[in-house]
Amino acid sequence: MPGRSVSFYISLGVVFVYCAVALFAPAIAPFDPFAISGSPLAPPDAAHILGTNDLAQDIFSRLVWGTRATLILGFLGAAISVALGTFGGIVSGYYGGRVDEAIMRFLDVMMTIPSFPLLLILTIFFRPGIYMTAVLMGFLGGLQGVRIIRSQVLSLAVADFVVGTKALGAGDGYIMARHILPNVLPLVGVKFIFSAQHFMVVGIGLGFLGMGDPAVVDWGQMIQRATQNGGIILGLWWWLIPPGLAVTFLSLALAWFGYAFEDRINPRLQVMRV
């Protein structure tokens, strides 16, 4: 399937470009993202290639700096979510019995509470910075991850090779680390990519709802400013469009990468898909 393989590399490339922009933001951005660098609401010109906002800040510079916040929200959130989900899922699925029962009942209850409204309330009260926001999202997302990993571990835990290794005299820790974990890693990888995509979108959504970290530039807050302060009424596309387009493009690249990666590691799906 060459098509899938091409999309795999292209999407991976796009993600790398975003990472590079985030890393070298100070070098790429022509202005301080918070500084007043011209007249407010100026249309694009040579100095401000995307014009300025109502506070006369350079939109392009803010866009570049905003990449950092987006990637931190996505990847830190995904890392925490996946770590929690993997750990919880393996413990719950492998030990089974009462441990599993307790974890699953707890999750059942947590799953009944819609996570985004819960996240909003948590955000209001913790008033988290961007890192804490990522941690919060990761924690809530990790609860769902536990279920997904667990369902895979349940079948692995009774697989002959696990029972056989137990019969060899191996301890539980050894079996979980050497036999269970490597077999759920591909799933964990896929989950990581899709979680990163999801948390970027949600994190920027928080900014859009006014729950962002005021100390950092993020695309969500940029969209919020543009929509709330006249961007739509005045039809200032260079103010409205770039941050949303940036997150949409990144989200697409990650989604594409995720599906291509899933195809790669899952030969059964590959056969079935095409």
Binding site: A159, D160, F161, V163, G164, T165, K166, A167, L168, G169, A170, G171, Y174, H179, P182, N183
Partner: protein, 289 residues
């Protein structure tokens, strides 16, 4: 009571119950009071239809499933009384081979890693020693060094079962429970694997509990045979005795013996079911009237 002097495994009134259901908890008696012994170097065949409790019995004997009651004495050691830690160390001496070789091997491990794993778990050899042992073992089961770098999905069913055998033999176990190790294999591959098993068990003087639903295989592989029905052993004895002169009605059904054979009729018990010796070494559970 049913075995000679040099008993390797002595199973006494072994019980394994499961409970299922949420509102209406029901108890399934998978193994319901089983007693027998296996002598050193002997292979005991265990036959019965699927769901009769053969697999549970096999796993309970080596405590891969915790039995509900009863005792298993292994060469003088009460396995059922071992602590978890002691049990893990003791596992070197007793091993298990499963029906599906492919799922018995971690799909992400190379053959060499799979065979070396038991040696590493028990810290038996150093690095070089493990390498040497792995090479010896792969040859012993009829494969060669080029197979060592493969993964299970690159091997056939028969080759995988050989790898499983090498992995199990690495610990030089004295007792092996083989649970239908050739059930999924073709006849010609089955013959290869079974002859290999037989030769190696003879060579190592391994004691074996061989579980199968195939009477032909059991006849070829075992010295004695036990017939299991609904969690109980209903007939046990020398292979030829039991399969050629079955007494219990179920055994007779299994081997398709003529129904009205008066000579080998099943003993009848007035009270609770009990084992009766119909011929030397051939025990049958008396049917209740």
């Amino acid at each position: 009571m049913m075995h000679g002097a040099c008993t390797m495994i002595d199973i006494c009134d072994l019980k394994t119950y499961y409970s299922a259901g949420f509102l209406h908890r029901t108890e399934v008696r998978a193994v319901d009071g089983v007693s027998f012994g296996i002598e050193k170097g002997e292979t005991l065949g265990l036959v019965g239809e699927s769901g009769c409790g053969k697999t549970t019995l096999g796993r309970s004997v080596i405590r891969l499933i915790e039995p509900t009651g009863g005792r298993v004495v292994f060469d003088g050691t009460d396995v059922t009384a071992l602590s978890r830690k002691d049990l893990r160390r003791f596992r070197r001496r007793m091993q298990m081979i499963f029906q599906d070789a492919y799922t018995s091997l971690n799909p992400r491990m190379r053959v060499s890693e799979s065979i070396a794993e038991p040696l590493r778990i028990h810290r038996i050899e150093d690095r070089a020693g493990i390498d040497r042992r792995v090479r010896d073992l792969i040859e012993a089961v009829g494969l060669n060094e080029e197979h060592l770098n493969r993964r299970p999905y690159e091997l056939s069913g028969g080759q995988n079962q050989r790898v499983v055998l090498a992995r199990v033999l690495a610990l030089e176990p004295e007792f092996i429970v083989a649970d239908e190790p050739t059930a999924g294999l073709d006849v010609s591959v089955q013959a290869q694997i079974l002859t290999l098993f037989r030769d190696i068990w003879r060579e190592y003087h391994t004691t074996c509990l061989y579980i199968s639903h195939d009477l032909g295989v059991v006849r070829a592989m075992s010295d004695r045979v036990a017939v299991m029905l609904k969690g109980r052993i209903v007939e046990i004895g020398q292979v030829a005795d039991v399969l050629d002169h079955p007494c219990h009605p179920y055994t007779r059904l299994l081997v398709a013996a003529p129904v009205d054979d008066k000579e080998f009729s099943c003993p009848v018990s007035a009270g609770a079911p009990a084992m009766v010796e119909v011929r030397p070494g051939h025990w049958v559970e008396a049917t209740a009237r």
